[in-house]
Amino acid sequence: MTAITIARDPMAVGEPTAPRRGVGIALLGVRRSFGPREVLRGIDLAVEAGQFVAVVGPSGCGKSTLLRLLNGIDAPDGGRIAFERPTAARIMFQEARLLPWARVADNVAVGLGPRRKEPGAPARVLEALAAVGLSGREADWPAALSGGQRQRVALARALVSEPGFLALDEPFGALDALTRIGMQSLLERVWREQGFTAVLVTHDVSEALALADRVLLIEEGRIALDLPVDLPRPRRRGSVALAALEERILRILLRQDRDQPDYMI
């Protein structure tokens, strides 16, 4: 018992020590076109189990498409996507996408799928809500929650089934700056506790650098940069090391994309 408690301690320093729930993912020559437009032109990528990968790139570069392929919402036209072992794959969107007519607990239970009716389900829902700091809100309507709280419910819904892989599509893009920082730390904490593999698509380079083990820059359907971020966690915002990496990524982005300055710098 004690050993498990220590292993799950979110304050533990170093790499995620949680149970290795994450799955490794391998992509080989993955392509996807919409009509004549080739959005992904052969992506080769190996994501380690439990790794946190951030994907940045200009609008329309194919990063969201990549995420939808990984999550199985969309299928590639060519190439292969292989998961190390079968796992629940979950996705979080920029909008919380909660069912407005279902109370918070029922929304989280959606994440359990058919296992929602099992006897242990309510306890798991409460546990997931506690993990995102929303204990006591289980009987609320989504309309009664703030934007950040709704995203927390969406996160609980995504994690209640203990997925091996979580895809995040600009999950905090619609939140105000302070709430966003809070959500980033929350995401980092649950990721370190639970050890799932995470792929985060974001416009926000500093968010990518704050959270990810590795930042991918996608341009014109190809991986243009694969940058490891070997900095201790939790990372201090505005540190020199982060600023240097951010500078490097932004320089590439801005060179390519001078007329579309929609990045948060």
């Binding site: 999550n71 199985g72 919402i73 979950r90 996705i91 969107f93 909008e95 996408r97 069912l99 407005p100 007519w101 279902a102 109370r103 959606v110 994440g111 799928g113 058919p114 309507w141 989504p142 309309a143 819904r157």
Partner: protein, 287 residues
Amino acid sequence: MTNESHALPGPGALAGVSAARRRLRALPGVAASAPLRQALVPWLLPIALVVAWQAAASLGLLRSNVLPGPASVLAAGWRLTLSGELADHIAASTARAVAGLVVGGGLGFALGLLNGLSRSGERLLDSSIQMVRTIPHLALVPLVILWFGIDEEAKLFLVALGVLFPVYVNTFHGIRTVDAQLLEMARSYGMGGLELFRRVVLPGALPSILVGLRYALGIMWLTLIVAETIAARSGIGYLAMNAREFMLVDVVILAILVYALLGKLADVVVRTLERRFLAWHPGFRDA
């Protein structure tokens, strides 16, 4: 008037309207003080009208063979209640209304579901339904009399036809405007088929469906009035037409008021349904 305590009239302001006050006290859930005053507000205008009406009748400004006062209308109502006639007519009208609503509303709901959920259903049926919808259903009265005479079928047919379209249009629209992002989310969590319909599509369409029901209830009474006025041997409309034969203006007005009350009752039913089923919706919280 800007003074807080004068913003709403206290009980004293209503002195002299004892009948109305008795009615109000009889309303369930009307407690004392602030909630009471809140509940009173919508009644102020009707009460003022009744008072003015009675005053005009008592002062002889209104001729009793044109517009008898509320007291005589109430007396007529009491007379017909005692004889049991009023209850019989209300029962007949309500039975027709409900039967027509069930048949027409059920059909409209079923067609709305079918066409909302299936593109091929829409292609096959929607343009025909829209074409029929543009015909005012009351234009069919002569035809209906030829077909069914003045039997119950005639009323049922007209009411059902009248309520079918608002229910159809709003069900169809409600289903088609269910948030596509929610559908994508639900599918990504493995929901499909009946479960997707029950947990996402139907609740998403419900606000619109209830709007349709509300429209339908209005049309239901309207159609019934016309149908019963033209051809019936029972019901409120018949009561009114019969009273006209004998120049009983008070009974005619009584019939009109009964229709108003029944319409209001139907509206209360839908509001209750909305509060019950749309409790999640910020727009339908208890007002």
